[in-house]
Every structure is written in C-alpha cells, then in structure tokens.
C-alpha cells in the first residue's frame, strides 16, 4: 500500500513535470496549420520555420544579449556585494540581504509596473537600456545568493596569508578568493542567464515598439498567428536551457551551488 502511494506520487510528479514538455514537442511537430494536440501527422517544418521568422531572430539576439550582459553586470555588482556581506560585520547586513533578495520575492508584474512608472517614464531611458537594467536587477539576487554560499567556507586568514606573502588586498582577492569561488560564480552566471532569458512579466512592461525579448515576441506572435511554430520554438528553448544546465552539472557539479 505504502509502495503504491509512493509510486503514484512519483508518477504524478513526473507527469506534471515532463508532460507539458512532451506536449509542446509533439504539438510543434503537428502537420496541421494550427496548434493541435495530439498532433495530426508529423513534420519538422515548424521547427525549421522558427529560424526564418525575422522577428524571432531579432528578439532572440536581444534576449541573448540581455541574458549575457545583464548577468555579467549582476555579477560585477553581486560578487563584491557577496564578498562584503561575508567578510565584514556590516551594520544592517541582514536588511541588505533582504533588499537584495527583493526582486525574487516581489511578483514580476509589480516590479515591471514599478520600473515602467517610476524609472522609464520619468527618465525617458531607451527601451533597451531599461530592459538591461531590469534584467540586471532581477538576476542580482541569484548572483549574491549563489556566490555568497560559495564564499562561506573561505576563511579570512587565507587572504591574510596572501597579504603576508606580498599580495595587495586586491591581489589577494584575485589570486586567492576568486579562484576558490569560481564554481559559484559560474553557477550564478548560468542560473542568472536562464532566469533572464525566460523572464516574462517584467519584460512585458518594458518592451517597446520593435524592441522585444524572445518570450514577449512569442506572446505577440501567438496573438496573430496560431501555427505550431511557437510550440516548436518553446521546445527548442527548453532544450537549450536543459543543455546548459546539464553541461554545467557535468562540468562543475552545478547543483552544489543552487
């Protein structure tokens, strides 16, 4: 009886986790001109069509750029922040940690609306810059968290030892701290990249005419065209995320850091 319950829970969990994924893969292969499941006939033409849609190419490039540079910027801010939070007994460190985590806790819709109303509208920044700043802010919590956890085992006396051997404080950081948190920084980058790339609610508010991230572009596409290519693209993107995380797990034991 016990066994049966365990297996059914496992079965249901896997169904709900993997099921939707299988559905979009198959729906993207349907030979019909509209989205259909179960697929009627099988074809790869929608998977190929995805690459020919001009707006997808542009928005894919934008999403890639946002994910790469936004995450990079978040790490540029997040690594020193994590270091300071770990190393120094800062007043209000706990408050700071909470504030840094805020973009994950507050619903994206609210963050998006707030950024639009109080950052984009009053300052008139370009759509691309607004998206870049928003994605940086959204990824920052992951950067601080993940890098922080990889720093907890790094004792301060290691840096002091480096200083006594002739390092400046900066050299001690680059020669001793950084090499030892490399895994955490890479993990934070991957997590940040995936988060940024798949981000919808905030981007929804900040996207402007002609400047859309890929997920937003897919939403817009679906409003006009209802062919299986959106399902095909979704499946391709899911594979991309999967491949990134799988490679990361293989190379550096990604799950240790997340």
């Amino acid at each position: 009886m016990r066994h049966l319950a365990t297996w059914s829970i496992l079965g249901l969990t896997l169904t709900f986790l993997i099921g939707p994924f299988l559905i979009i893969i198959l729906a993207g292969a349907s030979a019909t001109d509209y989205l259909a499941f179960p697929p009627e006939g099988l074809t790869l033409k929608w998977y190929l069509k995805v690459f020919t849609v001009e707006s997808f190419r542009a928005s894919f490039a934008l999403s890639m750029a946002l994910a790469i540079f936004g995450t990079f910027m978040a790490l540029l801010l997040g690594v020193p922040a994590a270091y300071a939070l770990n190393r120094y007994d800062l007043p209000g460190a706990e408050t700071l940690r909470t504030i840094v985590a805020a973009p994950i806790i507050v619903p994206g819709i609210i963050v998006g609306l707030a950024l639009l109303r109080y950052m984009v509208v009053p300052t008139g920044v370009t759509v691309t810059l607004a998206l870049f700043m928003a994605h940086t802010a959204l990824v920052l919590p992951y950067a601080v968290r993940v890098v922080s956890s990889s720093m907890t085992n790094l004792r301060a006396d290691m840096e002091e030892a480096a200083v006594l051997l002739g390092c400046s404080r900066l050299q001690a950081f680059t020669k001793v701290v950084l090499p030892n948190i490399r895994g955490g920084v890479l993990a934070a980058f991957i997590l940040g990249f995936v988060t940024s790339f798949n981000q919808v609610p905030v981007s929804l508010f900040l996207s402007g005419p002609g400047v859309r991230t890929l997920p937003i572009d897919m939403l817009a596409y679906m409003e006009i065209t209802f062919d299986p290519s959106v399902a095909a693209l979704s499946a391709l993107l899911a594979f991309m995320s999967l491949a990134i995380v799988f490679t990361a797990e293989r190379l550096l034991g990604f799950s240790r850091y997340v």
């Binding site: 200083v163 050299q171 090499p179 030892n180």
Partner: protein
Amino acid sequence: MSDAFVQLSDLTLSYGKSVAVPNLDLSIREGELIALLGPSGCGKTTTMRSIAGLLAPTGGTITIDGRDVTRVPANKRGIGLVFQSYALFPHLTAFENVAFGLRLQKLPEAEIKARTEEGLATVGLTGFEKRKPAEMSGGQQQRVALARSLVMRPKVLLLDEPLSNLDARLRLEMRTELQRVQKETGITMVFVTHDQAEALALADRIVLMKDGKIEQLGTPSDLYARPATAFAAEFMGFENIFRVEGTEVVTAKGRLPLEARPESPILAWRPDAVTVGSGPHEGRVAACSFAGAHREYVIDSALGPIKADAAIALPEVALGETIRFDLPLSTARGLAA
C-alpha cells in the same frame, strides 16, 4: 636594549573602545625563539597580529632590525606567519602554495623552483609537490604552511598555536621539527600558545601575559622554578596557592599554622612539594589516582582541597581515610601579592 632585533615600545592595541593591550614593552633578540603564553583573551594573539602588520596599533612603535615598521603595511614588512588553521590556498598544490610568495616577487622560474623544492625538503615533504591541501593530513598541511613562510626568508616568523591542532604524537614531532628548523635557519621566531608545556618545551624565553600586560618574562626554567605572582605560579603548575597571615596560611575555609613566619604574602606549593604520610596536619583523602611514579592525592584539609603527590613507596591511603601531611616552608615558593 641595543641587542633588540624586534622591539615593541609602549605598544597599545585596541578594538574600538576596548583596549586589548595597553603600553606593552618587549624586546626580542635575533635568532631567539619566544613564546607568548597566556589564557585566551590575554592579548597574545593581538600582539602577534600587530607584529605581522595585520592590526594597526593605536599607540607605540614596532621596530624590526633597526627599522621602524609601525606604519609599514603587512605585505611589505617581510614577516612570516603560520596560521593556526594553516590557511593554505585550497586551489593550489603544495608546490604552488610554497611558491606563491616567490612568484609575486617575479623571481626567475629556476630560482622559484629551487627555493620551493628546498623549502619542501626542509619540512620533509619532498614528493608531495603535486598534492592539494585537501589531500594531505593536518600535520602535512602545517608543514606546507611552514615551508610557505620559510621560503620567503622572513626576518621574523610568527606561529599561531603551532601545535594545538595536532595529535600527541605529531605534536612531539612538530616540536622537534620547529626547533631543528630554527637552529638551521637561525630565524627569529615568536609563537603564541595557551599551553605552558608547549612554551616550556620549545621557547628560549617565555612572555607570560595576562590582561594585555606582561605578567612575567623569563627562561622556561626561570618561570618554572621561580614564578613571581600567583597567576604565574598557577600557570606553571603550582596547584596549592595560599595567602599568608602572620604565621598561618589562610583560605576562605580555614587556616593552618606554619613552622615560622614567612617573608612573602603568598606561598605556593607544587603537588610534589607537599609532604605526605607525615607532618603536623591531618586531612581526609578525597581522591587518589595512580600516576606511575607517584600517587596523586587530593586531601580535604582545613584549607580546603590540597593536591599532593606521594612517593609510590608509601603505602596507599584509602578514600575517606585520614592522611597526615605538611606544607614545609623549605619547599614553598614565595610570591608577590
């Protein structure tokens, strides 16, 4: 103090408002092995960190080899420090750990290699070049840490509790090793410890510290035989320390007469300085344990518990039985108030 190699003058060290070390004066000769001994919080580690340059003094000066280094940053001071945790770089091999400082000096590769190998050989770790710290035992890690400091040819080598993380056998081995290295290199060493046995065994001179001040400074045999204060005596194994009033020793519990009026206000006896089995006083055996060459008694006396060692030849007195003892003036150590 013309022969001082390291000179601390009027050194004051504070953390915020609390003064850890007030107005410390200490001179260390070249090639000396000095122990900073004391309980935790006595300022010994703080003093060591300030010599290293990791802690800026709030007052006073530090001179090393005739040069005032008080304001010289830690990375320009030429001082080595072996951390209690060893503080090896986990991402580097033993070889790269030892070569770390030499590489920073941008020495020719051949010299780096030669000096690193020599350093590893000095601590008996030839053949361990490619090991990462995680693949070495605590004792081996400490040797790497020692070699890493030694290859820099520091003016002074500081060691923070060098033996406390090792087991008994390794401790003895490392002690011999440190003495050998010191003799071979002639380097001035200062080590911090809370263990008087370590200090007695290793140091040329011991600086006994209490509350940031030097309680007593002397050679191990000096301190062992002639502690000046009750604190020093306690640290050096004088278990029975009593206040003197006239011709009696007094505690909160009671008093016992002495054979004559002593000169010192406080008297102290090691357990082996108490006469057991004969004497004018009586007590009850509260505990007795066999320690090989002698028996260790705890005698419940008019003064409270007295620790006394009895020769094994004397017949054992059972728990609760009455035992005679004496606190002879001839074996007492007189202390300052």
